[in-house]
C-alpha cells in the first residue's frame, strides 16, 4: 500500500511513516509532499484547497490513500484542522471516496514522539534512567527532543526522529488525547486499515 503524506517538512517526513506503520500494523510505502512546497497561485488559499490538490496528486500518482497532518502551533483557533475536515467533507459530498486520514498535532508532530519516553530512550540509545521531560511541562517539544539528540550519533536529526518514531507504542502515549495523536491514529485506522496491500 502506498500512501501520500502531506505535512510540514523533513522532520515530519522522517517521523510520520514509522508512526503510520505502527498504527496500521503493517509497513506502508510512502510518498511525501510538504505543505510549503505546494504552491497554489489561483484564488484558492488555505489548507483545504491544498488538501484537495493533494488528493488529486495522490489519485494521479496511483497512490492508495492520503495522510494529511497540520500543526496546531501558530493556529490557536484551530482553523487548519477545520479547513482540512471541511475539504474532506466536500470531497465526500462530491461522491468521491478517496481515503484521507487527517491529523492535527498539538503543538507539532514532535510531541507525538516525546510523549513516549521509552521510545525516546530506545530510539536515541539513551540509558533507561535518562530523563525525558513530561510533555505537560514544556511548550517546546521540538527543542526538548533536539536537546536529547547527540550530534555525533545522529548527524542528521531526521535519522534520530525516524529512530524514535519506529519505537513509539501508542499505548504508552499518556497524553495522546491532548496532543492529537489518539485522534490521528483513529483516523488512520478508519481510513486506511482496510485498504488492500
Amino acid at each position: 500500500m502506498k500512501v501520500l503524506i502531506v505535512a510540514d517538512g523533513p522532520r515530519d517526513e522522517a517521523t510520520l511513516p514509522p508512526l503510520i506503520d505502527t498504527i496500521l500494523g503493517r509497513p506502508i510505502e510512502v510518498a511525501f509532499q510538504s505543505w510549503g512546497r505546494l504552491h497554489l497561485m489561483g484564488s484558492k488559499r488555505g489548507y483545504g484547497p491544498k488538501l484537495l490538490f493533494s488528493v488529486g496528486q495522490a489519485r494521479s500518482r496511483g497512490v492508495t490513500g492520503l495522510v494529511a497532518v497540520v500543526d496546531r502551533d501558530k493556529d490557536s483557533a484551530g482553523l487548519r484542522g477545520h479547513d482540512l475536515r471541511t475539504a474532506r467533507d466536500a470531497e465526500r459530498q462530491a461522491g468521491r471516496s478517496f481515503p484521507i486520514a487527517l491529523g492535527v498535532a498539538n503543538p507539532h508532530v514532535d510531541v507525538w514522539l516525546l510523549d513516549d519516553p521509552v521510545a525516546v530512550r530506545q530510539g536515541l540509545d539513551l540509558p533507561s534512567d535518562a530523563e525525558v521531560i513530561n510533555i505537560r511541562r514544556t511548550k517546546a517539544p521540538k527543542d526538548e527532543l533536539d536537546k536529547l539528540i547527540k550530534p555525533n550519533e545522529f548527524p542528521e536529526i531526521a535519522d534520530a526522529l525516524n529512530a524514535i518514531a519506529a519505537q513509539v507504542d501508542p499505548k504508552r502515549c499518556a497524553h495522546a488525547n491532548k496532543t492529537g495523536f489518539a485522534s490521528f491514529a483513529d483516523d488512520c485506522r478508519r481510513e486506511l486499515a482496510n485498504l488492500p496491500e
Binding site: 512546497r37 505546494l38 504552491h39 497554489l40 497561485m41 489561483g42 484558492k44 484547497p49 484537495l52 490538490f53 488529486g56 496528486q57 489519485r59 494521479s60 496511483g62
Partner: protein
C-alpha cells in the same frame, strides 16, 4: 495556419507528430526541445531551409534523413527534406509548399525591453513592415499606423492607456530624417523618451504593436514572452496574443506558437481553444512532445489552474499516463 507538424530526424527529435492550434504553448524543462521545435517550423520558411547543416540531423547522423511535414489549415502540405543520396551528396529542399519568407517570424525579446528608436519604414517596405527578431522597429510600425491607419493607431493608444497607469499619450519624434523615436507623455503632461521608461512597459508596447500590425506574419514564433513582465501582467500579454490569433485589429489572424517557463502565463491558457504541448526528454535521449491530457486533469485536479498543476506536478503529471 499550421494545423499539424511531423518532424523526423531533426536534431533532438527522432520522431514527433503534434497537432497545433491558433495559440499553442510549449512547456517543459530546459533542454527538452522547445526552441528546436520552433527551429523546425522556422526552417519551413524559404530562405531558412538552406541553412540546414549536417549537425541538424539527429545525432549528426547523415544516414538519418530530416523530414518535416507541416499541414496548413487550407489542406496544403509543406514538406522539407534533407537527405543523403547513394553517392553521398546531401540534398536539401523545400519540396512542396507556398509559404513566403515573411510568413513565419520568430521573436525573442530582450528582458531589458525593446528598442524604441529606429529607422523608419521606407515607401518600399510598407508591404512587409517587418519587426526585428528582438522586437525593434516598433517606432517605425507605430509611425506607419499614425500616418496610414489612424483608427488602428488610436486603438493602440487606448489599449496602452488601459494597460499602463499614468500613461497619457504617445509622440513619434524624428531625431533625423530617417529615424523615428517614441516619446511617452505621462501624468501631468511630462514627456520622456520611451527608452527611459520601464522595460516591461516597452515590452507591452511591442505586443500592442504586434496586435495592431496591419499585416502580421502568418505564423509568429515567440520565445518566453514572460521575460521582463510582471506575473500579474501576463494575463494582459496573453489577451494581446489571443487578439493576434483572432485578427482583432489586423487584416488577418495569425498563429502564435510560444515557449514559456511561467506557470502564471500558463494559467491563462483556455483548454477548449488552445494547445499546450509538453516537452520531455525520453529514455533514449531524444525529445518528445505530448499534448496536455485535459481529461486526466479534469478527473484529478478539477477546479485548479493549469499553471499550478504544472508547478506542483511537473511535466509528467500533465500528459496521458503511460500504461504500466
Amino acid at each position: 495556419m499550421l494545423t499539424q507538424l511531423s518532424i523526423t530526424g531533426f536534431r533532438c527529435f527522432r520522431q514527433l507528430d503534434v497537432e497545433l492550434k491558433p495559440l499553442t504553448v510549449l512547456i517543459g524543462a530546459n533542454d527538452t526541445g522547445k526552441s528546436v521545435f520552433l527551429d523546425a517550423i522556422e526552417i519551413l520558411s524559404p530562405g531558412e531551409y538552406d541553412k540546414l547543416n549536417p549537425l541538424d540531423h539527429f545525432r549528426g547522423d547523415l544516414a538519418q534523413n530530416i523530414k518535416t511535414l507541416g499541414t496548413l489549415s487550407d489542406g496544403q502540405n509543406l514538406r522539407l527534406e534533407s537527405r543523403t543520396s547513394e553517392g553521398g551528396d546531401r540534398q536539401v529542399g523545400l519540396f512542396t509548399g507556398t509559404l513566403l519568407i515573411s510568413d513565419i517570424q520568430r521573436f525573442q525579446l530582450p528582458g531589458i525591453g525593446v528598442e524604441t528608436e529606429c529607422e523608419g519604414f521606407g515607401a518600399k517596405e510598407t508591404n512587409g513592415l517587418k519587426l526585428e527578431a528582438n522586437g525593434s522597429r516598433v517606432a517605425a510600425l507605430i509611425d506607419h499606423l499614425l500616418r496610414n491607419d489612424l483608427t488602428c493607431y488610436l486603438n493602440l493608444l487606448n489599449e496602452l492607456r488601459r494597460l499602463v497607469p499614468g500613461f497619457e499619450d504617445l509622440k513619434i519624434e524624428t531625431p533625423s530624417a530617417n529615424s523615428r523615436r517614441i516619446d511617452f507623455v505621462i501624468e501631468g503632461g511630462f514627456r520622456i523618451p520611451a527608452h527611459k521608461t520601464s522595460a516591461g512597459v516597452r515590452l507591452l508596447l511591442f505586443f500592442l504593436a504586434l496586435v495592431h500590425h496591419p499585416n502580421p506574419p502568418k505564423i509568429i514564433l515567440l520565445e518566453e514572452p514572460e521575460t521582463g513582465i510582471h506575473p500579474k501582467r501576463l494575463g494582459d500579454v496573453m489577451n494581446l496574443l489571443r487578439g493576434i490569433t483572432q485578427g482583432k485589429f489586423s487584416k488577418a489572424p495569425a498563429q502564435v506558437i510560444l515557449t514559456t517557463h511561467s506557470p502564471y502565463l500558463l494559467d491563462y491558457v483556455k483548454p477548449e481553444e488552445d494547445q499546450v504541448l509538453v516537452f520531455q526528454r525520453a529514455d533514449d535521449g531524444s525529445r518528445t512532445a505530448k499534448p496536455v491530457d485535459w481529461n486526466r486533469l479534469k478527473e484529478d485536479f478539477d477546479g485548479f489552474m493549469l499553471g499550478e498543476i504544472w508547478f506542483n506536478e511537473e511535466e509528467a503529471g500533465l500528459v496521458k499516463q503511460e500504461a504500466s
